[in-house]
Symmetry: D2
Subunit: 339 residues, 4 copies
């Protein structure tokens, strides 16, 4: 349903024009004439009402949608939480899911060493980038398929499922061969061809929020994936861009309860990108679980000072192990569990 | 210390000009000449080096400060946490301080009823606005001194100290007669005459972050108060303005660990303004304590649908009582306490 | 008029509750019941309808205002442009008003020298700060009344009216003794006590936009001044805070046509603060006039490298003189005039 | 060159660690030891110095780059403006380039009718989307190749070269068959696979700024294209996302002079997206030319109320024709020309 607010000066003819348009398009109409102005309610599925056309019609002051534009992603559509298993753990259930690993896969030994340390500290899923989106064409762009092979080897050794980023539609089949979860990075949140491609895959998807995306736009991108038939979508809050400069991004903690209200999809927090500095990762991890997140994804590197990317925000394994202990205490305090 | 980066084309004479300026102003100088450009380090107290003058001098490309501009507010200046008693509780200690009450004092019975309910639920300090900053000149502007009298009466009855906002320098003496803590609102964070006035009072001050203020600017405003001799300053994160529209503000959870690193001052979270909707207040309160806040300030109203301001973000007393129970669990999980 | 959108699950009783509330408060009601949900239009002056109360009532999903919250400032209220004379020039007319001068009054000779240079270059009004809002308590805070005296002397010599900032209500009478126009700085846009005080003075006011203020909030602050009886208000766009770092602020050029549509008040551009670097002042000055601004306020300093504040964004008099020539060409191209 | 600022407490060993690292990586080192702290200048090409590694090394407080991260896009690299011909016009020269047309190609007759009207009004290049990035999966996604064919037909008839968006790497060859200029949309600014693909094409590229991208990031994306051998890149400012709600985006007019200083690439303004409302397009078009833009891209639709997208911001042909006349006046006023 859309509400069309007519200008105070709108003529009878202009009002009739709106009504005729709506009826021609198969919608029902509600007319409400006040002393100052007339409101016209157009009743039908908002997703298909062309708001832009209405806004340009004669006599119209403003058009306001009443319903939210996303549907399959909404809690109205599916009241109970979405849950699905990844390895031995169930995302969206009472347990808190812990994903950890380096920003980039740098070498066979680096990823295996990190995977073992993460596993030992209590992580459930191994993260690591083989294809890296970098703001400079002169920076390290990732090991590519070689990196995927090392990740698979680390999975063999540790038993942890792996999550890794896919950056272009043409690479979805390749990444699917190796990964258990596909990650869509913040810069690609609105890369619709890519959303389409992962929507048609059978892999769970972790969809990061774009750097300055509205929660509504983010849910619309989840809707793209869902509408192509893939129901296993996680939403990952990783901080938004604001004016603040002490941190790389501003972690939007509010997004956690907002998403829980609007949607049934699991919510994962990324305190590493959400702050950009390892010193703050522990506080924001604990805060995220207290706020209701279903899991976290954390950058861990055995020697952050040698990391080829994001060393500034990576925890060392021993700090990460302490953090997992803290997570357990917080999880218990909010009636959840780290297994 | 400031670093002056000279342009690659800067002449010998231009470099000497900077050195001469610095020495004339009593600073020491460090010269570092590379193959491409020369850097000049000017050593002295950054607070008094005129960066703007330097930036306009011939041959200068950029001037970068090395030290932070705040001093008394910094943790370098005072490594241990600032602590002070308000009533029976110690702000900045291991205990979590809970301030609660209505946005506005609306009547004698409303504030007394709310105060009793808050006290019973476990609050330590009573909040309530007598002078209200309202974005419209046509909105309710508060009861003024009458409101202060009702607050004092509520204190008599419940034993809770009171916090209330002061909006202009001329009213500081009046508000000090009634209040235990002075609140500086977000819109007045940079009202320097007001900061001066509360800096000269003997009352603790809660300084809210301006809606789009950098953490550094906020600490500079605390520095204004501190530099006038008042050491009992609390910093209150209440959300910043971003593009997001599902929430009234974006609560900057990162600010909590950042402030704890940069400063010794206590940090209070305001989840009511930080979200703008009561549904999200519980999540963000818990998150704030998990992230390391020293206390919270929460809007509570017995009948939010009748509140003359901010009813949308006020909790009912029974929900608030539940939340205090949850706060205790989180406080314990992070090694702190609600008394 | 407000539109109350009821939840799909709202009961008959809840709907009746809204209607009863509205009628009790003297409003008329329009009911529009669709298949999915009911809309209730509450007809009356939006400025007095308590939206927050409505939002908390049982069964309500959302409340949407139909009208704008400002009234006296709106073009509906007063369709023709506000015009008033300052010295020999008419603000809000076809002519472009040029205000120029240093950020701060630093000395008698500095302000007189600058005033003469600005006058010669074609400026109409002299700007200069005697009371300076500074983010650091350790920075130069202005010469105070001595600065006002020098400004008055510069007016004697050049014949140019003067504009200067007033920072607190208690100083309004003093500043009025010397100044022709009172400036409200960006940090004080929502200092309501100050708006009240200048609203009761008989002086024209230049109201700067707050650093992160919505256009609507800014117009509400103008409404504060107007509602206290002072009709001579100018709106000054000086840039907003965004994430961009190459410039000090982001000059919101869109605000110029938006304000011209919403309001009858004159619009002045401040390209000096709007960019923060003198190199960009010329482009943005020309752009502002092309976009429809009624005037500009520009920082000029004979020796910017010695300025005690804002030297980075001040033009030298000879560049300013060239810019006035460019302004004339642009003014002609848009059917206006620099006299 | 990077400057490493050591912590005040850094040990001799920690300082030696940095020096050793730098020398091992083939950089020269400058040491500057003050009374409070030591600065280490690392001299080499910033593009290859791993800042993140440095920031994690023991004893380091902060690392500051001295040079800009983009090179081929910079004015230092190429001081004179980049110019290239598109049809009979030269982008980057003294003439103002006018691109116009509908948001989407909707039908053969619509694009031909619009093209003829634009041509007659004075446009040089025809815009029109065949592949449309839409925030909802349920919205019209464009006519695809059929749309490209209609565009080509419109070019046949009017002689105007065509610009159209390409959204994924796999479609670059197809779009190149039809288009004269490839457009990269705001959502794809950091779609590196796409930048790579258009960088290898021989077509001029118009690179839109991402919705919340820093100017520096934008130039780094241009650098991606340039570094793959394509030198014909235009930068298109289309507004950034801020908190303001009266306009769809905030057109960053400052970006025009900033880009002209930092880079040699042509700058095109998009006032349609930059404002989101046709009422403001005329002001912002004129402002852009006054600020120094090399051209504009404007949405024109013969019947905006029927447009399948962006009707709210489209001009009718007669308003566009008037605007071209106004552009000529402004161009003359700034010493340029509309041919």
């Amino acid at each position: 349903m859309m509400i069309v607010i007519m200008q105070p000066t709108a003529s009878m003819q202009e009002k009739s024009g709106i009504v005729a348009w709506a009826e021609d398009h198969g919608y029902k109409v509600h007319l409400s004439s006040g002393s100052e102005r007339t409101l016209i309610g157009i009743i039908g599925d908002d997703r298909y009402i062309n708001r832009e056309q209405l806004e340009r019609m004669a006599g119209v002051e403003r058009v306001m949608p009443v319903l939210k534009p996303f549907k399959i992603a909404s809690r109205e559509f599916k009241p109970e939480n979405t849950r699905f298993a990844v390895g031995d753990h169930v995302v969206g259930s009472d347990e808190i899911i812990i994903m950890a690993g380096p920003c980039s896969v740098e070498s066979r030994s680096q990823i295996i060493e990190t995977a073992q340390a993460c596993k030992e500290a209590g992580a459930h899923i191994l993260r690591g980038g083989a294809f890296k989106p970098r703001s400079s064409p002169y920076s390290f762009q990732g090991l590519g398929e070689e990196g995927l092979q090392y990740l698979a080897e680390a999975r063999e050794i540790t038993g942890m499922p792996i999550i890794t980023e896919v950056m272009e539609p043409a690479l979805v089949p390749l990444v699917c061969q190796y990964a258990d979860i596909l990650q869509i990075g913040a810069r690609n949140m609105q890369n619709y061809a890519l959303l389409h491609a992962v929507g048609e895959s059978q892999h769970p998807v972790l969809l990061k929020r774009g750097m300055s995306s509205l929660i509504e736009e983010w849910l619309m991108c989840a809707e793209y994936i869902l509408s192509h038939g893939n129901t296993r979508v996680m939403l990952c809050e990783r901080g938004i861009r604001t004016f603040e400069r002490y941190t790389r991004n501003t972690f939007d903690i509010n997004a956690i309860p907002v998403l829980k209200e609007l949607s049934h999809l699991p919510v994962i927090a990324d305190p590493s990108h959400g702050t950009g500095k390892w010193e703050y990762v522990e506080s924001i991890t604990k805060a995220s679980i207290a706020a209701g997140a279903d899991g976290v994804i954390i950058e861990v590197h055995p020697r952050p000072e040698e990391a080829s990317s994001d060393g500034r925000q990576s925890l060392k394994p021993e700090r990460f192990a302490n953090l997992v202990r803290d997570m357990k205490a917080i999880a218990t305090a909010v009636g959840r569990d780290v297994r």
